[in-house]
Structure formats: structure tokens, C-alpha cells
Symmetry: C2
Subunit: 189 residues, 2 copies
């Protein structure tokens, strides 16, 4: 199974810890990508929660309730959406620490209202005992930039239109509330 | 609790039978309304599934899978969306047979690919042993037309932007997959 997520996506935050817990047993591949270019290609110029404020208000309340149910300390960030580009480049390096890094960065943004800039990313990597400068240098390499572009193009080609998305072969599941369905699907194959 | 639904809404179909089963115990009020005028007021000119074909394809697949899980004989109607106006006027009469009528009409549209015009509605009412002509005459009365307009205006005023929507006081739950959350919320009060 593949877990496709965007670092700015609220519902990706909401599901990441559950995915991390299931990753080894279910051999889940983490696939950070950028939703922005996909929205743009579909003529969507603003995040759905911003384009429709009535729906947006509902989304924040829904997130609060679901976070409470999972026991997460969610709070609405003072800035939304934050730019996910650098974080996505860091996670596109496909290192074994990517799930842990992803969960920590999601929590920084959606629980502690911290930014997703180079300073905060370096702080998270350092907390994890990782050489932050080296990882950030690689994140800014042409190789990794290209890899992330390819990933995003691949997501679009496969019909991904939102995040989180779970792919089991060609079978697509969209939303934090479809993760368990995706797991069931993967396990009945 | 209130169950707000539109007869053209796929996910309203998907939840209606579960709501019917829980209606008496949980004192659920059935609130048919029209989503069209609300979309229009928000500048949405086409049903979301049509406006974004990539997302639309996903929706049909998601519906198939969820229907299978519930054991429902869902199949994609040859015409979508069908005009829900007359059905909504029939159900706005708030008679005790509204839940049963609603479920039957949803199944006609989303399982048997039947229309929602006066003939089909009359056939369903007749199957139920109800005087179809009398109900249809009342559905076309000024009183009922106005009542449905007021209902739809009320839905918009309360922040409803999609269907199905469950309201527990001011607490809103949107989507067939939030019905059980809404029930939990109602019962913890």
C-alpha cells in the first residue's frame, strides 16, 4: 500500500500517526507529494477550505472532533496553509526516518503552531539525532527537486486529487476516514 | 437529531436505511431540502462530482465499495443527478410514512435506475398503500412549496453546505460516514 500525503494537508496530519503504527506490518510506502500543482491543473486556485468558507468552518470543527476522538492535541494553526515544499523535499529522500520525521513535522504545524521553514525543519531533524544540514543540502539538490516533481506528476497521472490518498494497486481510498478501509482491502488481497 | 437530505444526493441514499433503522429510538427528524439553491448561492454551478471529473470517478467507486460493505445493491444511475424537486415536496409533508417513502425512492433511483418523476413517485406511494393522487396534489400546493423553500433557507442559514447533514443542536456532521459520530454525540448529551 502507498500513503500519499501533503505536509499542508489537515487530514494527512490526522491520519499520519495511525499509518506510522501500521507501516511495518503492512509494508506501507510513504509518498509525500504536492497537492498545489494538481489543484492548479484542475483549475482550483485556492485550498477547498478557503474557497468555500462555510465548508471551511465545518472542516476545522470536524478536525477538532476527530482529533479529540483519537486523543490528539490538535489546534488550528495561525497560518494556513503553510508552504509544504521544503518538508516534502526532505521526506522525498525516502530514508527510514521519513515516517517519524513526517509525524513530528505534522505535530509541530498542527499541534504547536510551528512553521515549516528551514529553521523548524532543522530543529525537528536535530531532535531526532539527524545531521540537519546534510539533509537540508540534499533536499535542495537538483536530484531531489526532480524526484518530487516526478512524484507529483505520478500522483496526478494516477488520478490522485486530494490528500491523504491510499493506493492499493490501482484501488484508491481518499481521506483519513478511509485508511481502515484501505487496510482491509490490502489484507483481503 | 435532524437528518437533512436531498433526494439527488448519492451519499444521502447510502445512509438513509441506517437512519431509518435508528429513527424511533433516537427521535431523528427527517428534513428533506434542496441542495441546488445552496450551491447556487455559493457560486457552485454544477454538482461537485460533475465539476471535477477526476473526483467524480472516485466518488462512484467509493459509493460502490461502501454499498457493497453495507450489502446494498447500488448501481450508478444512467441519469445523474435526477431532479429532486417533486420528491422533496412529497417528503416535506412530514407524514409518518416519510422515512419509508424516502428509502424506497432512493432505492428506485440508485438501485433500479428509475426516474423521480410524478409517475414513479405515484408508483412508490401506491406500493406503500397510500393514496398517491392526494399526496401529489398536496405536494403541488402553495403551502407545501413554501414550506420546502423555508426549509432550504433554514438549511442555508444554519450553515448546511452538503448532504447528508446531521444536526445535533448546532453541532453539524456531514456525510454518510459521520452518521455514527452524530449518534454518539446525541447520546452523550
Amino acid at each position: 500500500m502507498e500513503f500519499w500525503y501533503d505536509f499542508a494537508s489537515t487530514y494527512s496530519y490526522l491520519v499520519a500517526r495511525r499509518v506510522a503504527a501500521a507501516t511495518q506490518v503492512n509494508n506501507i510506502k510513504w509518498r509525500p507529494f504536492l497537492l498545489g500543482p494538481i489543484f492548479k491543473a484542475q483549475g482550483i486556485t485556492d485550498a477547498p477550505a478557503k474557497a468555500n468558507p462555510v465548508k471551511g468552518r465545518y472542516m476545522w470543527r470536524d478536525l477538532e472532533r476527530r482529533a479529540e476522538r483519537y486523543g490528539y492535541a490538535f489546534r488550528k494553526p495561525s497560518q494556513f496553509p503553510r508552504n509544504p515544499l521544503l518538508a516534502a523535499r526532505v521526506a522525498t529522500q525516502d530514508e527510514p526516518w521519513v515516517p517519524d520525521f513526517t509525524v513530528r513535522l505534522f505535530r509541530a504545524n498542527f499541534e504547536q503552531d510551528r512553521d515549516m521553514d528551514a529553521n523548524e525543519i532543522a530543529a525537528v531533524l536535530t531532535e531526532m539525532g539527524i545531521d540537519a544540514q546534510r539533509v537540508l543540502d540534499r533536499a535542495n539538490s537538483e536530484e531531489v527537486k526532480l524526484k518530487l516533481k516526478d512524484r507529483t506528476a505520478d500522483a496526478m497521472a494516477r488520478g490522485i486529487f486530494g490528500a491523504p490518498t491510499f493506493l492499493v494497486g490501482d484501488e484508491m481510498f481518499w481521506g483519513d476516514d478511509r485508511f481502515e478501509d484501505a487496510l482491509d482491502w490490502a489484507n483481503k488481497k
